[in-house]
Each structure stands twice: as C-alpha cells, then as structure tokens.
Amino acid sequence: MLCTLCGDKTAWPVYTSIGNLSKAKRRSVKMNGLILKGLLPKCPNGPKTHTNRFAYHESIATILRALEEPAKSGFAVLCVDGRTCHAFPRIALFLADYPEQCSITMVKNGSCPRCEICPDDMPGFACRPRRRHPQCYIHLSTTAAEEVGLWKFADCPNFADAHAGCNIYSCMNVDRLHQLLKGLYKDPTWEWIVSFLKDIYGQEKGLDLIDE
C-alpha cells in the first residue's frame, strides 16, 4: 500500500511473512513478524495504464525471483531440531486491498479476483465458478480473456506463472479492513442509513445519534 513518509515522499512497501508463525506473533510489533522486502517503484503520472501493470509485475517478480527455483525443486532448510528438511517455498496468500488484488491477478478493474462473475451482476450472491488455475487461462485469446475479466498481455506474463504450485487467484484472501469495515459497513451501509434517516426524520438525525 502506498504510505506517506513525509510531505510529498511516499513509499510503496512490500512485506513478507512466513506461514508457520502464529497469528499473535505475526501481528506483534515487537516480534518482527513482517519483514520489509522492498519498495515498489511508482510510475510517474501520465503513461498508459498498462505500463503501471508491467512495472508492478516486473518488480514483484524480481522480489520473488529467489523463490522460483526452490518452488520447483525444493531446497534444504536447517530446522531448529537439528535436522535438515527439504522445503518447498510457496506463495500462500497476498494481503492487499482491492486495487492491488486487481493488479496482482491482472484482473480488470471491477471484476472479482476470485471468481468469474461479470461486473454487471456484481452484488450477485449466487455462486459463480471460481477462477481456474492460471495455466488454464494461458491459451485464451485476448477477447476470450476479457470476457472473464482478465487482462492478457503477450509480453507481460503474470509473475506467479513462474512459481510452481501457485494459484494466484486463490491466493487472494479477504481483507476485513477494506472490504468489510470500509466496503460494506462504512461506505454503503452507514451512508445509506444516514441518508435514510435524513429522509425520515429530517436533519435532526445528528442529534439522534449522539446518544450512543
């Protein structure tokens, strides 16, 4: 996520964590559950939107390049108990907010990163087919890909294609902060309620709400 350092200086950091940390440890500030892995480049304003996507994928691929080979053949890890294990690193999930999920999965803005729903049916709560493994989409033509809400570029493969056993679409986890609290709760529901109360009770709703 973009964060502001100071004034006009911003950074776009990427953090990594490993899967066998307990939740409490990972969240603790003291324990260093997250490691700062890199800062993503920010494209200057103006170029075509896809340039941003290319840059994004190229940078993430660079950051994760060290994992590509071990994901296929494994590598030896010295464990705490003194034994050496053969480990296969996997990308388990990405925590990101919606626009970043879109750019990671190369999904068109407005589509769902996890299923093939059409944006017009959007709130649709009926179950839609999940996105299949990325390999299935490789041979799709550009127009066919656009029908399922994917961008497809010949010269810019998704960085996750190089990682064995990584289904990038199912790596997209839910995001409670942005989706639930902001996406569902604050923006639509809360504002609807407020305007709804305005309609019914007039402008004195602010006073009504004090009694919380």
Binding site: L95, D120, G124, F125, N173, L180, K182
Partner: protein, 383 residues
C-alpha cells in the same frame, strides 16, 4: 462503550478502531429509530452479524451456518437501499460481492481475524516511517533498508537469547545469555523500534584517550592481543576519561577478557543504485538506552581523532556517537594468512575504523542515559 464525542457526524478520522466500536453499538442505537421497518432492521442486523462473526478466532460448521444466514439476509434485503445509491443500481460493487468469498476463504486459509491489511498498515508505521525518520533524508531508501535489517537482526538476536534463557534457565549457556541481555528481559521490552538509535544526530565529541601506534605487519589476532594488553595497562583512573569512568571498571573488563573480534551478525546489503556493490556490515547498532543501565553492543575504535566533516563516516550518513577508545592503528594489518602464491594477505583498515562487538557486558555499572553508542561497519577491506 465508546464515547464518540459530541456528535457522531463530527468524527473526522475513521480508523478501523472507530468502525469496530461503532459496529458494536449501532444496532441498539438504531433500533428505536427504525421501529416499524423490520426489513431495514434485519439488513442492519445481518451486516452486524457478518462483521462480528468473521472476526471470530475459530470457526465451526455452526458459525459457518450463521455466516451463511447473515449473507442471505444481506442479499435479500440489499435492494432496500437502492434509492440511496447515486446511480440507482446495485451492480459494480466488488467489495460487496466479495462477501460471498468469505466462507470459502475461511475454509481454505483459516479464520479471517488476521486476514486484513491492518497488519501491514501498522507495519507502515513501525518499519517504513520510523526507518525514514532514522535516515538523514538524503538518498534514504538504502538507509531505510539498512535500518530495517539491523532492527531485524537485533530483534532476532534478542529473541534467541530470550528463548535460550527461558527454555533452560539453569544451564551455563543461559547464564551467558542472561549477561548478554543485561541481566533481565528488559531488553526485549525496550526493543520497540522507536528506541533503536537514530543513526544521525547523536554525534558527540570524541575524547582521545591515547594514541597507540601498532608496528607494521602485525597480524589481526596479534592486533587484538596487543589491544587487550594495552587496555589492561589502564587502571581505573577517573581522570583519564569520562568515558572510561562511566563505562565501569576497565580493569574488571580486561579481567573478563571480553574483547572479541568482530564476529557478530553479518548483514549483506546490495547498494540500492548499483547492485554490483555489496556492502558487508557486521552487527552493530546499539539502541539508545532509555531504561536502567547502559547497553553497548558494539564499540567503535576509530583511527583518527574525530571524523572530519567530509569523512567517509559522515558521507555514509553515520555519525558515530561516543567512542570509548580511539587508536591510531596502522593502515595495513597482516592477517597472517597467505595466498596461494605465497604472498601475505593484508587487511586495510578502511578509513581507520575498526570495531569490536559484544562489549556490552563491560557496562554493568553506572547508568548514563546520554550514552547511546551506535553503529559500525565492517571497516576492513581485503587488498
């Protein structure tokens, strides 16, 4: 119960804490207002249910059923708010659509209580912003990474030491670790990122104690030995130096023989703008000690009396804080090793800096809050 000031509408800054607090209370607050509109109320109830259930730490089939009920409640009543949408359409709301995926995500990846971007938003503060503040704001990206990796190594070192102490408190190993932790687990409590020293801005004067010239061609181990014996000639002389006085008994220190070679955690950093240049640093960076007692992880032994303004140290953005001992060391030190062709390998003391690690135990006495030793850098380069 949270008090939202005078008026809820006046809350300017909505963070997740505010949302969470509001979720807890709004049902009760809205119930009288929505009397006679059961459908609206049901929708709000379902939303509340959904938010609260997803924050559970564990899930069972029963809670999944509740979640599904809440979801169907939301989906069947969401049209009630259609008139209040600007576009009068409910389509193109990917965030609401994503509610559908919660159950499958929880089944696949475990409870959703930690799967939010709050973690990384918090990390922005701890890692990025603090790192930026610790830099000297010029070419700050490599400095931020250097700061972060130092922080990481110090933290992991402390946690390993703590683990050894806690797992087997009686073993002799644990005793050593305890001394490394300055007697108690204070170290870990104090190791919040804010207490890691700012690399810049702690410059203080460098008091020269003595000048010692080493003979040409001394090997690195001989150098250490010579240094030790030289320091042992110091008696506890309060007039010698303020530094010596506040850092405890020098003689005691020598008796414990805690001079080590620089053998700390090695950090390799590629230079930001030129990946071919790899900088190797060795564990360094002592926190500015705000608690009881001093704590020095490193001691910087510096060749020149004080770094000039245009010296390498300054150019790197470092400002050495207090130096305990200063020496004029020879520029080239014989390592005592030989290359394949028989010629001797020399170390050059780069910019006359050399540091020794793990000297913090010499400071068991006399807290001094102004001492914040910092930094070092593996100052040697092979010629």
């Amino acid at each position: 119960m949270r008090q939202f000031g005078d008026k809820l509408t006046c809350v300017k800054h909505w963070t997740s804490a505010e949302y969470k607090d509001l979720v807890k209370v709004w049902l009760a607050a809205l119930a009288p207002l929505l009397k006679g509109r059961p459908d609206d109320f049901k929708f709000i109830k379902c939303v509340t249910d959904f938010i609260l259930i997803t924050s559970y730490h564990t899930h069972t089939e029963t809670t999944f059923k509740y979640l599904q009920d809440a979801l169907s409640g939301i989906s069947s009543n969401i049209h009630l708010f259609l008139p209040y949408r600007k576009s009068h359409r409910m389509s193109k709301l990917p965030k609401i659509h994503s509610l559908l995926h919660y159950i499958e995500c929880i089944r696949e990846m475990g409870s959703a209580d930690t799967s939010d971007t709050e973690i990384s938003e918090a990390a922005h503060k701890n890692l990025i912003k603090e790192g930026y503040r610790s830099s000297n704001k010029v070419n700050y990206i490599p400095q931020m990474f250097r700061w972060e990796s130092r922080l990481f190594h110090i933290k992991s070192r402390v946690s390993i030491l703590l683990h050894i102490v806690e797992s087997d408190p009686l073993s002799p190993k644990a005793d050593i670790c305890r001394t490394l932790l300055v007697g108690d687990s204070l170290a870990s409590d104090k190791l919040s990122p804010g207490l890691i020293p700012r690399i810049n801005g702690v410059m203080s004067k460098c008091n020269t104690i003595a000048t010692l010239t080493f003979p040409e061609g001394i090997s690195i181990s001989e150098f250490i030995d010579a240094l030790t014996s030289y320091l042992s000639t110091f008696q506890v002389d309060t007039s010698a130096s303020l530094d010596l006085r506040t850092s405890g008994s020098c003689a005691l220190w020598i008796l414990r023989q805690k001079i080590y070679r620089a053998n700390g955690v090695t950090v390799t950093i590629q230079q930001h703008n030129n990946p071919d240049i790899v900088v190797v640093q060795k564990a360094m960076c002592v926190e500015k000690w705000h608690g009881q007692g001093n704590r020095f992880d490193n001691i910087l032994i510096q060749g020149d009396q004080a770094p000039q303004n245009n010296s390498w140290v300054r150019q790197q953005g470092y400002c050495p804080a207090k130096l305990l001992y200063t020496f004029r060391s020879s520029d080239r030190i014989n390592t005592g090793e030989a290359k394949a062709n028989g010629s001797v390998i020399w170390w050059t003391v780069h910019h006359d800096l050399l540091f020794l690690e793990d000297l913090e135990y010499l400071l068991s006495a006399t807290p001094n809050r102004t001492h914040g030793m910092i930094m070092c850098r593996d100052a040697m380069q092979r010629v």
